[in-house]
């Protein structure tokens, strides 16, 4: 850090010694803190430019030794008149000559640049130190260099968070990883999700790390906590290091976490598409589910039993409106979709034999990833899979993970990167494909999507084996229905053609599940 200049005044030499000790402590962390005591008269006789060249003033309110005046207030007023907006910490007993208490709250409102701390509540100077540290953190030098192809996008992200926040976070990250204080962190941009968090890559000790920053602290905290408590419960071969430390800005409005980056990092989605043979696709899926993979995990990490109607709980309690809105929008493209029948099942647990009164079946809760689409499984080399985006892991209905993977492969995989992907004239043909999937029947090759079809076929052929203890076809089909419904309102990522397809397939899921429930 370039020199951070602090000037302080107090009428009590002991308090001066305490302020000095606080600054020395902070200097051992931040370096270049130039802290010196001054006479208040020198502050009151300086001009605005000179005063503005300092980064922080700390002073007492009352001069008990000589003038018996409230010098601190005189200085604050002087700063106000000269428009000096250097931060100020007023370190005071909060009394005036004669012993009457001062209402510090009033002064806080009047002088917004000043923070008031009562000495009597701070004998160990913890508060004083914390306040000085906050101001130091806002003044940190640039802690990073940009190393990215997406320079414009990067600038946009920086603008959103502000350099100061990123500097504060990176300063702590550097301390955590013992990166020398003067060394800048080389940041490059990674593709971010839609959660509002942004992802940067940095390299330390030949290892790539992801720095995930978010202003939604609650969400990121919960992500970290879930990852900390649930990730270790997944099979060790999926494990990816997450640093348990939370990194916060001084004003606590931004948080970051650090995750080890899997490198080289091909997604399962790309791996499948780029595979040259059916054997390669099956090999990697085998690796995901068998050989101490997810199959054994789902078998052992279980909790309670849930009523089958919980499969669709996401749309209950007034939340069906999302589907009604999608229906309104896509109505001209829909063929067989029946909104009211779907609504009845979701809200009244009733569609012919699928009736909560007639069927009291309960399904097992397993520890799920809960966002297991094919881009959240990374493949390293030829075989090792990793799970990423582990922030919402939790126990839930047994079929949720595989349903998400199947629906993702079908909706986002078929015809990807071709004009047909967006073409509403493909809906009928794709309904047919989807229908096979729902009935767990093999889909025939179509020459363009063969590897995706291999993956879907492997999953539908093996699903009853993967979940051998819990599997029923109709529960799986209701799980697929839930996923198709969710896909139908992903307006940002999924074109109309595919969203319409999703609604139609959701409806078919319901019909097939009802047939199989008996």
């Amino acid at each position: 850090m370039s020199s951070f200049k602090v000037r302080y005044w107090d009428d009590n030499p002991v308090i001066l010694a305490r302020i000095k000790a606080s600054c020395l402590d902070l200097n051992s962390i931040y370096r270049n803190i130039d802290a010196q005591s001054v006479e208040y008269s020198s502050i009151l006789s300086s001009d605005a430019d000179f005063l503005s060249s300092f980064d922080l003033f700390i002073f007492d309110l009352l001069d008990e030794n000589n003038s018996k005046n409230l010098i601190g207030l005189e200085i604050l007023e002087y700063f106000k008149n000269l428009h000096v907006d250097t931060p100020v910490i007023v370190y005071t007993t909060g009394t005036q000559s004669g012993g009457n208490s001062l209402d510090l709250h009033n002064y806080e409102e009047k002088y917004p640049n000043a923070v008031f701390i009562k000495k009597s509540e701070d004998a160990d100077t913890k508060r004083l130190k914390a306040e000085i540290e906050k101001i130091i953190q806002r003044n940190l030098d640039e802690q990073f260099e940009v190393e990215s192809d997406y320079i414009d996008e990067f600038k946009q992200q920086l603008h959103y968070f502000g350099n100061s926040r990123i500097n504060q976070i990176l300063f702590q990250v550097k301390q955590e990883y013992k990166i020398p204080i003067d060394q800048k962190v080389k940041l490059s941009k990674l593709k971010s999700g839609f959660s509002g968090a942004i992802l940067f890559k940095f390299i330390f000790s030949n290892t790539d790390y992801v720095l995930k920053l978010s202003k939604d602290i609650t969400l990121l905290k919960s992500e970290l906590n879930r990852a900390k408590s649930y990730y270790p419960l997944f099979p060790p071969k999926f494990f990816n290091y997450i640093n348990p430390t939370e990194f916060h800005t001084s004003s606590n409005d931004t948080m970051a976490i650090v995750i080890k980056l899997i490198h080289p990092n091909k997604t399962l989605f790309d791996y499948i598409r780029q595979s040259t043979s059916k054997q390669n696709v099956e090999k990697i899926l085998n690796e995901v589910y068998n050989n101490f993979g997810l199959k054994e995990h789902y078998k052992t990490k279980t909790k309670n039993n849930l009523p089958w109607t919980d499969i669709l709980k996401k749309f209950k309690n007034g939340r069906f409106i999302t589907i009604s809105e999608v229906h309104k929008e896509l109505k001209p493209l829909l063929i067989n979709f029946n909104l009211s029948e779907i609504q009845n099942l979701i809200e009244k647990d009733d569609y012919k034999h699928l009736n909560a009164i007639k069927i009291s079946h309960r399904g097992t809760e397993t520890l799920n990833h809960l966002d297991l689409h094919s881009k959240n499984i990374l493949v390293q080399g030829e075989k090792t899979p990793f799970l990423i985006d582990t922030g919402i892991m939790d126990y839930d209905y047994w079929c949720f993970d595989i349903c998400r993977l199947l629906v993702d492969l079908l909706i986002n995989g078929i015809d990807i990167d071709t004009k047909e992907f967006y073409d509403i004239n493909t809906i009928s043909k794709n309904i047919e494909l989807g229908h096979h999937l729902i009935k767990l029947e093999p889909i025939a090759y179509d020459s363009k999507n063969n590897r995706i079809i291999d993956a879907i076929n492997w999953l539908t052929a093996n699903v009853s084996d993967i979940y051998e203890d819990y599997f029923t076809k109709w529960e799986l089909q209701l799980g697929l229905m839930k996923e198709f419904l969710q896909m139908s309102y992903r307006t940002g990522t999924t074109p109309h053609s595919k969203r319409t397809l999703s609604l139609e397939l959701a409806y078919i899921c319901m019909i097939e599940a009802e047939k199989n429930v008996l």
């Binding site: 009590n12 402590d25 005036q96 012993g99 009597s120 004998a123 130190k129």
Partner: protein
């Protein structure tokens, strides 16, 4: 000593010790003997005469200003100071011998006002707060251990300690003259009262500063002060005990809003103020409260506040389910008729609280002597009063409770 002229001893002991200086040292043997005889006079219950103590104090003023040894194993300085404080304390005990509990509390309040309410930074508070060293972080302590007096942190250790011995002498003398004799004179009933012992948790603290054993907190702290004054880096060895003692003395006794200062500010009790603050008119819409011009009494405010809560809780436990629900929802008992009145005589205020529409199950529980009303009675007795009540409701359906309070005059 029995055959010598005690008064002469008291008068001359300062001079004798001063003149025993040889080779830059005072005779240890003579000092030990003088201390022994002084302590005998202090302890002897027949020595009730102020004149011995006045003379001794004058002599010890000379002795404590001599350059005595302060080596740990032979701490003449520490012993001389301790004796000076004990003698000064004794003299105050003579002065206040005739005071009763109310007189003692009044005098303590007067002392408190003079020492704390007339200046912006009360000197006692500032002095003891100044010698706190908890601002030295682990970084600072590590650096001091490594670099000693050339550490950057040395001044942050040295400056607070630079005047520590005279500053502590002043505080210690204040404790011996303005607090301890008054505490000793307070009746056992007050010292062991619920308020003093359990609410303010002061009994144990005071016993630790007046006992004559080796673990006396003031002696212990004085020794630590000497160690720090002689060599500030000793702090690295005694940090934990020193910080604990400093904090105990500061929080319990010396800071402006210390536990003890808060305790003495509990008196006198202004009954009208408490009743108004508890908004009894709102809790009991059907109430008659006649307490105009009621005298101030000797009972802790905080305890009376609790007593009022106990009564409200007792009513809540004895009204109908319907009335209880009303209280929980709206904070009032519409169906309870509630009255407060008082009478007074020369010595006591009798505050009577009456309320009806509560069940008349027996209010005294032999098997549960610590039950609400019995505990209240015990505490009132500790402060010279009483609680008078019949266990059952009277013929008009009212439960009648009379607080007998000692007038604070």
């Amino acid at each position: 000593m029995r055959s010598t002229n005690k008064l002469k001893f008291c008068e001359s002991i300062g001079e004798i010790v001063s003149s025993s200086k040889y080779n830059h040292r005072y005779s240890n043997n003579l000092l030990q003997n003088s201390f022994y005889h002084t302590f005998s006079i202090y302890k002897n219950k027949y020595n009730k005469s102020r004149k011995y103590f006045n003379r001794l104090i004058e002599s010890y003023k000379t002795i404590i200003n001599l350059e005595l040894s302060d080596k740990d194993e032979n701490n003449q300085k520490h012993t001389a100071n301790k004796l000076y404080n004990l003698l000064s304390s004794k003299l105050i005990e003579f002065d206040i011998d005739k005071l009763d509990d109310i007189g003692i509390i009044k005098q303590l309040k007067k002392n408190y006002y003079e020492k704390y309410k007339t200046q912006s930074h009360p000197i006692l508070e500032t002095n003891l707060s100044n010698i706190s060293l908890t601002h030295l972080s682990s970084e600072g302590l590590i650096d001091l251990t490594k670099n000693g007096d050339s550490s950057e942190y040395y001044n942050s250790l040295f400056i607070p300690l630079s005047n520590i011995e005279p500053e502590w002498k002043f505080i210690n003398h204040f404790i011996y003259t303005d607090i301890i004799p008054y505490y000793k004179k307070l009746s056992e009933r007050i010292k062991t009262s619920y308020t003093f012992k359990s609410d303010y948790i002061l009994h144990g603290f005071f016993e630790s500063i007046i006992n004559e054993n080796s673990d006396n907190l003031l002696d212990d702290f004085s020794r630590q002060i000497s160690q720090l004054y002689a060599y500030p880096l000793n702090y690295l060895k005694i940090k934990n005990q020193y910080d604990t003692n400093q904090k105990k003395l500061f929080d319990n006794l010396i800071k402006k809003e210390s536990v003890f200062n808060d305790f003495i500010e509990q008196f006198p009790l202004n009954i009208s103020e408490v009743i108004e603050s508890r908004r009894l008119n709102t809790i009991f819409p059907n109430s008659e409260i006649n307490i105009d011009k009621i005298a101030e009494v000797f009972y802790p405010k905080s305890k009376f506040m609790k007593d009022i809560s106990t009564i409200i809780n007792s009513i809540k436990g004895r009204v109908s389910e319907e009335d209880k629900t009303e209280f929980e929802a709206f904070g009032r008992f519409s169906n309870v008729s509630f009255k407060i009145n008082y009478k007074t005589d020369e010595k006591y205020v009798y505050l009577t609280i009456l309320y009806n529409n509560t069940n008349s199950d027996n209010h005294s529980h032999k098997e549960n002597e610590n039950g609400g009303l019995e505990t209240m009675r015990k505490e009132l007795k500790n402060f010279g009063g009483d609680l008078i009540y019949e266990p059952k409701n009277n013929e008009n359906g009212f439960f009648v409770l009379t607080f007998k309070f000692l007038i604070y005059e």
